[in-house]
């Protein structure tokens, strides 16, 4: 492993950790502001067609991150497909709520708010806030506030996905893996080989650029 390759990997990995922290901060703030029992962000894994818990505050914080379920499940699935926020005051009365999915997480809320995470015209995931204090009447201002948080979460989620793609592309079998390996070999090569390699790269650059 060369310094360069390590640096690239560390940069990308470091970025992922920062974005995760940002997401955690979003759900923690959302939970605090709404005085809710829990808040979570789900990322849509398009290839697997699944929603993944990416950040959780409150109930389930210790156990749920990484947990997956089909993308059309429950309120989160409904919000993802409609790209509209949804408030459910009594999950027992709402056919959109999946009790089975909730029970599998070990915590069944009474009510929840969910909002899609939109970047341009893509839906990246869902932000949920579970069990606000039941005596407080829901207002449209809260829906607006939730949308504001959603914007922040969407940006963090977008950055996280970019970092992961970059990481995958530079990893051993990734499509740019060879580039990372060449870079590391160049750095450690003897002077003469290094100069020849750089010249070859310049030629390649001209070739691709023409």
């Amino acid at each position: 492993m060369s310094d360069l390759r390590d640096a690239v990997a560390a940069g990308v990995l470091g970025a992922e950790e920062s974005y995760r922290e940002l997401l955690r901060s979003v759900v923690e703030t959302a939970r605090a502001i709404f005085r809710a029992r829990a808040s979570s962000v789900f990322l849509l894994d398009e290839e697997a067609d699944e929603l993944v818990f990416e950040a959780v505050a409150g109930e389930g914080a210790a156990t749920l991150v990484g947990r997956r379920f089909p993308s059309s499940t429950g309120v989160a699935g409904w919000v993802l497909v409609t790209r509209q926020p949804l408030v459910v005051e009594d999950v027992g009365a709402d056919t959109r709520f999946s009790r089975e999915a909730a029970e599998s997480t070990g915590y069944v809320p009474k009510g929840l708010m969910a909002v899609p995470l939109l970047v341009e015209d893509r839906a990246l995931g869902v932000l949920e806030v579970l069990d606000r204090p039941s005596e407080e009447r829901f207002t449209l201002a809260e829906m607006d506030l939730l949308s504001l948080f959603a914007n922040q979460a969407a940006i963090a989620l977008d950055l996280l996905q970019r970092a992961r793609r970059a990481q995958a592309a530079l990893a051993g079998d990734g499509e740019l893996g060879a580039l990372a390996r060449i870079a590391s070999q160049l750095e450690s090569a003897p002077e003469e080989a290094r100069a020849a390699g750089l010249e070859l790269l310049s030629s390649l650059e001209r070739l691709l650029g023409s």
Partner: protein, 276 residues
């Protein structure tokens, strides 16, 4: 050579002496009030189309649904509009229909399903459904849905304008989040957002568009699947309030164009007329 009659000329102008030809069928009162607009009306004679997830048949809060259709896409990508008796796949369309019925109990309801179970609608299905509805010349089309996909915006815009010129009032939900979506952003439709007042007849004109009107959209008890009701919040539920009120107005004044209908809504809005 005989001069062609003016109405035969393919022109957009109004020749001298032809003003009579565009005489309005109804004289408007000096002050347009809700009494003038819809007093005693029940939506009779008005054809309303709900472009949504279908409508549950025999729901007590919806009553009779005169026509029920679905738009589907075959495996080859061919989009078809056909008769359908599967009802509502997720509850959303039924909730809209129930609200319209509660305001205009005698209007004629047509359901066009463009959303599947769990809301898996697709752009081409939505466009085909709207095109079909515009072709049918409904008086009011309720669209409590929108798309954020820009590639559909141009066709939706053309359809919204076609509806407007054919006297079909398209009533469309604003997105519940501050994002761009369509068709509610087009000025040829009535766009609707929510207010917090529980009065179903309270509606407000917004002098700062793109959302033009606000109607009841907070904690509305709506018709849902299985003959049930559900408490819902969102612009999806504000929109059918305006659609229902449009049906009432058109029931009393069927000659109104979308421009005039919007004007009546403006003049009778809770923050304009002082009526409510």
């Amino acid at each position: 050579m005989a001069r062609p009659r003016e109405e035969d000329l393919p022109a957009w102008s109004l020749p001298a002496g032809a003003v009579e030809r565009i005489a309005l069928p109804t004289a408007w009162p000096e002050r347009v009030t809700r009494d003038w607009a819809w007093e005693g009306a029940r939506g009779e004679g008005v054809r309303v189309c709900v472009l949504d997830s279908g409508i549950e048949l025999d729901h007590p809060l919806v009553g009779p649904v005169q026509h029920s259709l679905a738009v589907t896409r075959t495996r080859d990508g061919v989009v078809e509009v056909h008769e359908d008796d599967a009802g509502d796949l997720c509850g959303h369309g039924t909730s809209c229909a129930g609200i319209i019925r509660s305001l205009a109990p005698d209007c004629e309801l047509t359901s066009v399903r463009v959303l599947g179970a769990g809301y898996t609608g697709s752009g081409p299905v939505l466009l085909a459904g709207l095109e079909w509805a515009v072709d049918q010349g409904f008086d009011v089309i309720n669209m409590s849905l929108s798309t954020t996909k820009k590639q559909f915006a141009e066709t939706l815009h053309e359809l919204a304008d076609a509806a407007y010129f054919r006297r079909t009032m398209l009533v469309a939900s604003a997105h519940n989040m501050p994002v761009e979506s369509f068709p509610w952003r087009f000025s040829s439709v009535i766009s609707v957002g929510s207010h917090e007042d529980p009065d179903p007849l309270a509606y407000y004109y917004n002098p700062a568009p793109p959302v033009e009107f606000f109607a009841r959209g907070l904690e509305v008890d709506v018709a849902w699947l299985g003959g049930a009701t559900l408490r819902c919040t969102g612009n999806s539920f504000a929109t059918p309030h305006v659609a229902g009120i449009c049906a009432l107005i058109l029931s009393r004044h069927p000659e109104l164009t979308p421009f005039q209908l919007k004007s009546v809504l403006y003049l009778t809005a809770s923050n304009v007329s002082g009526d409510a």
